[in-house]
Amino acid sequence: MNDLFNWWAVPAIVIPAAVAAPAQAVQYFTLEQARRALFPDAAAFVSRPVELNQARRDLIEDYSGVRLRAEHQPVWRAETDGRLLGWFVLDEVYGKHEFITYAVALDPAGAVRGIEILDYRETHGGEVRDKRWQAQFLGKHYGDSLKLGASVQNISGATLSCKHITEGVRRVLALYEAALKGEADR
């Protein structure tokens, strides 16, 4: 058996590759940097997390058609002199192997005014940071069509990330409709 295939070749490949594999996480923005990038004129960000009880979760899932896992949604009111500039919603969606952390900025009327990717830990699909791709979401409200391959163009090689971020934005717009819309004047 001495000239048969040597199983040592398997760990010889795997172990060095595992040791040498670079760190997955790429942090493009901290929370503060993302808030500043999306609301450069804001003087303050007031934390307004949305508790997602079962009834609210059901409503948001019904509005968006997207599954909701979290029990609360981190949200901040962007303000200047007490005037509402919009909402900063922090969210996570599945990548192929890890979560993608991103943020959606909504104007006071609930329209998308920007998106930023904070943490991207995936092996591929980082093209979702492309502002030309993200521009497809600008101005979209709850009820507007947001479907990958139809109203939202796909990026070849980044399909999973494109799909989940598209669904995530749809869920954020449903969250606005279900929980933030009435908060605008408070």
Binding site: M1, D3, L4, F5, N6, A9, V10, A12, I13, V14, P16, A17, A18, V19, A20, A21, P22, Q24, R67, V93, Y94, K96, H97, E98, F99, R121, T123, H124, G125, G126, L148, G149, N154, S156, G157, A158, T159, L160, K163, H164, E167
Partner: protein, 298 residues
């Protein structure tokens, strides 16, 4: 082909660092999904399959495949593969199939060229559908280890449906392989041993299904099963067998690995005299296989 050199080259490549990986990881050992590589993306694979146990004597064979894939378009992937095998069998003589003891180390055994076209994306269209066509030529018989020229053309279809935010992935595969094979004569055959060297035609049908779930970041755990049947010129349905087993998949930034243990659950067709496991096909198949796949993106 020197596998140790291949292994060292792979390890060195990883140690030097590499650009980000791309899609189309193999979540299963034997089945495949409906996704293709992005245009311009490259992937190198190394597969090792260990086949053991025919219920008599000693049988241990390794099949090795080194494959290169490239995304020709966003829907079309092309692949070239070099195959190798080693075998160590003794104490088994099966008339017409295994002429006697055979032992050798890794030898190049065949070449394959394959195209995969994605008709529907599982992520965009809801149900993924891909088709494959593969042309393969082998010059070693994987069962006996003897010289046998086999040229085959395989048409395959892959279906993929994702659930639970694409964390639960199901696939179904179907394939038809047509092969033209000629065995080379053997000088020292046992007396009366039948070893036909006339050309023969073989048709192999395969159907399978698999399910895998992302249990933790980077980790998928699942199971796969397939049924395979072969029809051959002289004996009609030569064999059929049903296999199943678990698969574990891990993905890092530039590489991924999949380990599958496959057990033959049931089988039939040709048997050898004195075969005790009569519910299995052990003439060409073994009781179990273990397959390890390593993919590297660049």
């Amino acid at each position: 082909m020197n596998l140790k050199t291949f292994a060292l080259a792979g390890a060195l490549g990883a140690a030097l660092g590499a650009p980000p990986a791309h899609a189309d990881e193999n979540l299963f050992g034997y089945l495949s999904g409906a996704e293709t590589l992005p245009q311009g993306a490259n992937e190198a694979y190394l597969w090792v399959t260990h086949r053991t146990d025919k219920g008599i004597g000693h049988y241990s064979a390794y099949d090795v495949t080194a494959e290169y894939e490239r995304g020709l378009t966003s829907r079309l992937t092309g692949a070239l593969a070099l195959r190798g095998q080693s075998i160590d069998t003794h104490g088994i003589v099966i008339d017409g199939y295994l002429p006697g003891d055979r032992e050798y180390g890794l030898r190049a055994s065949g070449l394959e060229a394959k195209l995969k076209y994605k008709f529907l994306s599982p992520l965009i269209d809801g149900l993924g559908l891909a088709g494959t066509v593969a042309l393969e030529h082998n010059w070693l018989d994987p069962h006996s280890g003897r010289d046998k020229d086999t040229t085959s053309l395989t048409f395959g279809m892959q279906l993929q449906k994702n659930f639970l935010d694409d964390q639960l992935i199901s696939v179904a595969n179907f394939a038809v392989e047509s092969a033209y094979a000629v065995r080379k004569p053997i000088a020292d055959l046992p007396p009366g041993f039948d070893w036909p060297t006339d050309p023969e035609m073989e048709i192999e049908l395969t159907g399978g299904a698999g399910l895998t779930y992302r249990v933790a970041p980077r980790w998928f755990v699942g199971a796969e099963t397939f049924y395979q049947s072969e029809f051959e010129t002289e004996v009609g349905q030569e064999r059929w067998s049903w296999h199943a087993g678990p698969s574990v998949h891990y993905a890092a930034r530039t590489w991924w690995a999949t380990l599958t243990w496959l057990r033959q659950i049931k089988g039939g067709g040709e048997t050898y005299p004195g075969q005790t496991d009569t519910h299995l096909h052990l003439v060409e198949k073994t009781k179990q296989e273990v397959r390890f796949k390593l993919g590297y993106n660049f």
